[in-house]
């Protein structure tokens, strides 16, 4: 008796005291006491599983007890333990199977029989355990196939309890690893259940079907007639179960019918719980399988109106989100929204119908957001309707808030707004403070239409509100405060520390004074994000230095950690802030323009010095390094800007050099050779850096004098290679390469004529893109700072004159093409070349694009002909370095919202960060802003002015790239290019 009490009411705290006693009782001679002891332990296990962990061995003993009752009692414990962790008890499967076999085989004492069925509940319990054990486990399942088969066969007696066992059997068969024979038998059983005239069995069959159908939908087909019958069954419970079954087999084809059935049922039922449940299911199905817009909206309308206010709040939320975010197809979305708006308007037209509050809320939101899809005049009407709703008494204040929000959204679109004014009047005196606030908001917005329009843009509902978490707009204020001597914001913990140190002894240092004002700045960024103020602190660097040496540390760290690794939510705020980066890039452009001016200045300078240089060429021999240094000294100021350009230029000049060599060898005289040798010697003395300068100066020289040309070209040729190759270079110069074709000769002259422009900016190889017997077209990309100049060279190969040749480019949506004015030669003489220049700009970022066009030409014998061609332009053609300082980088970084991160594996050879960055700089024309430890900063811009910032960090051989830009797609493209470069090299 005491044990029974123990297993019924027992406080957890007493378990340790009683446990030994109960453990003793497990060995008791009487089976009833053993059984009670096990049950008491089961209770302990229920309330405090960890306290009986050590007696698991005893449970096993109980399972093997010679008495059936004790064994049955222990099954409860096992059922629970296996449910929690089935893998730990797989070894017991054999025992359970044996027990079940004995039970099924009738080995138990007769008094366990219930209506001549041996211990039915024990069987059910065992079957459940087996089902849990065999789930997704083939090996364990194989052990039980036999016994399940046996159970199915034995349980053929026509009694309720055998059906219960059968049901459990079916359940188990479908839970465990499937075996086709058993499944077949189980399916037959289900058929028997479903077809049975007994209502309880029918219910059971439907339940089993519902379960089984998840694994094997075809089974439903066999019983579809029965299911249809059940649908019209007078018993609502059966109906519900059938609906549950249908819910599982819903797909796009049958959704309309099933949802209709569900709605029918919904209309009849009154019980809240069922409504909530069913409405949820309908909404889910409608969202998942809706065949068309009209149906979807109507179903949802039905759901909202029937479901009323008891429906789960997720349903309207999901519905609205679906409307706002839409699907992939924009047109489809618009249609859906339009349909929704229209259907709501018709619903609102009906007089004297009360809709649930939730439904009204949904309506008001949709009308507020998407009424613009209707005609302009309709907006008035919508507002009128909303107003009428607002005035009615049956509406809760929450719904009223929704309604007024909708009106607010609509006001900027409406022409005149008497109603709005009336509404404002009425609600500004409303007793409800919430309503009053809304009304006042509306009133003020109404007075300032412009603000209103910017604040409530049309169809922007799903665009994220961006919150400037960094509070960067306060930067100016903070900086001001700082310059006036206020202390920078200190994080809480730091203040705490300082406070502690202050308590220890009097602090006479000046920051003690300003400490009080740190609270003042602290208040500016209450969120505890010191980021904003820290960034500004960077600009107000000097002010900070005064405060304390302790803070200085913080500043240095700031760039590396805080400012530089900003939090993700650190998105820029309003659209009004967007122009800021643009401005800076404009500034950047101005900068570049200035450098261009510098460039041309230097060019003119060199023109003045042209004669001097001619003289200098002789000086070169004697004075060698000194004079050249002088000469280069002037170029030096610009040289670092040109460095990269000249490098790319090199590749071009390399090509042409071979051509020049032909002329060179004819021109060059013996003293010239002497020059060169000396020259090379001096070159060898200098480092790489100066080599570049040389090549630069040679470029500056080359437009001027053709006589200089060979020398210059040799120079650049030399500068291309490392000193060790110089000997070979020498050889090359004197042994012209064999590729001396006519076209090359032409291109030389051509190139020289082009050099004026190309000297300013770098350009790509000349590429022959198409030709026929009379003309050939080659293209040439010139990377100007502000645009991409594509030059087409149309060469007349024939010996006759071309009367006219026109080049036209097909317009494409990706590019903006403008023709440069100076390219209108009307007559192309024999074997001459005509130049067409187009400046190309990208309209929106993309990976690669084709520029197609054709040449229209007329030969002397008035034969008009056409030649088509196309040029491939990649994103890289439009990327220009963005020269900014580290500070500017930090500021810009914070203003960009779109970011992309990716880790790229580097090969060992380029594991060093600087070299990697250099590769990127060369190949992608990025600008290396700074290198801090294992982090590097790069910046570039997509023409005309879309900046993109890159942050890279090296971990072992992984390069973590992090792109940020104001344009959403640019980072992705750039990332792709970077990956290509890094993995390719």
């Amino acid at each position: 008796m005491a044990l029974t009490i123990v297993s019924q009411i027992f406080p957890r705290e007493m378990i340790p005291a009683v446990l030994p006693l109960i453990e003793d009782k497990l060995q008791h001679s009487k089976e009833i006491i053993r059984r009670k002891a096990v049950l008491a332990l089961y209770k302990f296990h229920l309330i405090a599983p960890n306290q009986v962990q050590h007696i698991h061995v005893k449970f096993r003993k109980a399972l093997c007890d010679r008495d059936v009752g004790v064994m049955a009692a222990s099954l409860h414990i096992y059922f629970r333990m296996i449910k929690e962790n089935s893998s730990g008890y797989k070894d017991l499967t054999g025992s359970f199977v044996t027990i079940l076999k004995q039970v099924v085989g009738g080995k138990l004492p007769v008094d366990f029989n219930y209506h001549s069925v041996p211990a039915p509940w024990l069987q059910i319990q065992l079957l459940r355990i087996l089902g849990l054990l065999g789930k997704d486990d083939q090996r364990t399942s194989e052990l039980m196939y036999d016994v399940l088969d046996e159970s199915l066969r034995r349980a053929e007696l026509n009694h309720n309890v055998t059906y219960a066992i059968l049901f459990e059997c079916v359940h188990t068969v479908y839970s465990i690893y499937p075996k086709s024979e058993l499944l077949e038998k189980a399916a037959k059983c289900i058929g028997k259940f479903v077809l049975s005239p007994k209502i309880n069995l029918k219910y059971l069959g439907l339940k089993a079907l519902t379960y089984v159908i998840q694994q094997d939908p075809t089974l439903a087909l066999q019983h579809q007639m029965t299911i249809i019958e059940c649908l019209d069954h007078p018993d609502p419970i059966i109906k519900r179960e059938t609906l549950e079954l249908l819910y599982r087999i819903t797909n796009t084809q049958n959704v309309t019918v099933i949802v209709q059935k569900m709605l029918d049922y919904l209309h009849q039922s009154k019980e809240e719980y069922i409504i909530v449940n069913l409405v949820g299911k309908i909404a889910e199905l409608a969202e998942k399988y809706a065949p068309d817009n009209a149906w979807f909206i109507q179903t949802m309308n039905a759901v909202f109106s029937v479901g009323g206010d008891v429906i789960h709040p997720d349903i309207p939320n999901n519905f609205l989100r679906l409307l706002a975010e839409g699907f992939d197809d924009e047109a489809e979305d618009q249609q859906l929204r339009l349909y929704a708006v229209q259907s709501y308007l018709t619903l609102l037209d009906v007089e004297n119908v009360f809709y649930p509050q939730r439904f009204l809320q949904v309506m008001s939101w949709v009308l507020g957001e998407y009424s613009y899809l209707l005609d302009k005049e309709m907006t008035e009407e919508v507002i009128t309707k909303l107003y009428r709703l607002l005035m009615s008494d049956s509406i809760s204040s929450e719904t009223k808030a929704w309604l007024i929000a909708a009106v607010t959204k609509l006001t900027p679109q409406a022409h005149s707004s008497n109603i709005v004014e009336k509404l404002i009047q009425e609600f500004t005196v409303s007793l409800d403070t919430c309503m009053r606030q809304h009304a006042f908001e509306l009133k003020h917005l109404h007075e300032n239409m412009e603000l209103m329009k910017s604040l409530l843009p049309v169809d922007k509902s799903c665009e994220d509100m961006m919150v400037d978490a960094s509070l960067s707009f306060l930067d100016g204020f903070v900086a001001e405060g700082l310059s006036q001597g206020a202390a920078p914001y200190k994080p809480h913990h730091q203040r705490q520390e300082e406070k502690l140190s202050q308590e220890k002894g009097l602090n006479f240092e000046p920051y003690g004074l300003s400490f009080s004002s740190s609270g003042f700045t602290g208040r500016q960024s209450p969120a505890g994000i010191s980021l904003g103020s820290d960034v500004s602190g960077n600009s107000a660097d000097t002010g900070l230095k005064e405060t304390s040496s302790l803070k200085l540390e913080g500043i240095k760290k700031l760039w590396g950690k805080e400012g530089y690794l900003p939090k993700k939510e650190n998105k820029t705020g309003d659209e009004t802030e967007a122009p800021v980066p643009q401005e800076t890039t404009i500034m950047e452009n101005v900068d570049q323009a200035v450098t261009k001016k510098d460039q041309s200045q230097v060019l003119t300078q060199t023109k003045e010095e042209k004669e001097k240089q001619l003289l200098a060429s002789s000086l070169f021999v004697g004075l060698g390094s000194e004079s050249s240094v002088n000469l280069l000294g002037k170029a030096d100021t610009v040289s670092h800007k040109f460095r990269r350009k000249s490098k790319v230029k090199e590749s071009k000049s390399e090509e042409t050099t071979s051509g020049y060599n032909v002329t060179c060898s004819s021109f060059s005289s013996l003293p010239n050779v002497a020059y060169e040798e000396d020259y090379l010697n001096t070159l060898q003395d200098r480092g790489d850096k100066e080599l570049k300068k040389f090549s630069l100066s040679s470029e500056l020289l080359d437009p001027e004098s053709l006589t200089e040309l060979p020398l210059v070209e040799k120079l650049s040729n030399c500068s291309l290679s490392t000193p060790s190759l110089f000997a070979d270079n020498n050889m090359e110069i004197f042994h012209p390469s064999p590729c001396t074709t006519v076209s090359f000769a032409k291109e030389i002259s051509l190139a020289s004529s082009l050099l004026d422009e190309t000297a300013e900016s770098l350009n790509s190889d000349c590429m022959e893109i198409c030709d026929n017997e009379t003309i050939s077209v080659s293209s040439h990309k010139i990377y100007k700072d502000d645009c991409l100049l594509v030059v087409w060279l149309v060469t007349n190969k024939s010996s006759t004159e071309l009367k006219s040749a026109n080049l036209e480019i097909f317009p494409t949506e990706n590019f903006k093409i403008t023709e440069q004015p100076e390219c209108c030669l009307s007559i192309t003489e024999a074997e001459n070349t005509k130049i067409f220049q187009y400046s190309v700009q990208m309209e929106k970022p993309f990976m690669q694009g084709n520029l197609c066009g054709f040449v229209n030409y007329q030969t002397v014998d008035t034969l008009s002909a056409q030649l088509e061609f196309s040029v491939n332009l990649s994103l890289l053609d439009f990327i220009r370095p963005l020269k900014i300082s580290t500070e500017d980088f930090g500021k810009l970084w914070l203003t960009f919202a779109n970011d992309v991160k990716q880790n790229v594996k580097m090969s060992d050879s380029q594991a060093a960060l600087p070299s990697t960055l250099e590769t990127l700089e060369q190949k992608l024309r990025l600008h290396v802003v700074d290198i801090i430890g294992n982090e590097g900063l790069l910046a570039c811009q997509l023409l005309p002015s879309t900046p993109c910032l890159v942050h890279c960090r090296v971990y072992a051989d992984i390069l973590a790239l992090w792109f940020r830009s104001s344009c959403s797609t640019l980072p992705d493209y750039l990332l792709y290019q970077c990956q290509k470069v890094i993995e390719g090299s």
Binding site: S7, L122, E168, I237
Partner: protein, 145 residues
């Protein structure tokens, strides 16, 4: 798992109730009346299982006596249905084939003992008739002597 066990007369008065999960006292009466109402409203042709809120009711009628068991989703309805019958058979045997409200009303303690033997913590723990009645018979013997 069994949530509660109710014995109700046809007039809707609760004769015996036992909960295996904590339910507040004042909520019990509310729940009982609702459960009974839904059971009494059903006819013989309708099925003996009702879905009520998030659990299922299984009921069986014996003359004027309704026995209603509330279970959760995982339980086998038919097994419970038969279990009710088993319970009634046990009562039958103990009260010498006179199952009536009268017996139950005046021997409520014994009915409770029987039920406790059969159901523990919401699980069916004993279905063997002789074993269920064994402790009760011992008690009877003790009180006689």
């Amino acid at each position: 798992m069994i949530k509660f066990f109710l014995m109700v007369n046809k007039q809707g008065q609760t004769r015996l109730s036992k909960y295996y999960e904590h339910v507040e006292i004042n909520k019990r009466t509310l729940l009982e009346t609702e459960v009974i109402k839904s059971c009494l409203s059903r006819s013989n042709e309708q099925c003996s299982f009702i879905e009520y809120k998030d659990f299922k009711l299984i009921y069986r009628q014996y003359a004027a006596l309704f026995i209603v068991v509330g279970v959760n989703d995982t339980e086998n309805e038919m097994a419970i249905y038969e279990f009710i019958h088993n319970f009634v058979e046990v009562l039958d045997e103990y009260f010498s084939r006179v199952v009536s409200l009268f017996n139950i009303m005046f021997n409520l303690d014994k009915v409770h003992i029987i039920l406790d033997e059969m159901v523990l913590n919401g699980c069916i723990v004993e279905t063997n008739r002789t074993r269920i009645l064994a402790p009760l018979l011992i008690l009877d013997k003790m009180s006689e002597s």
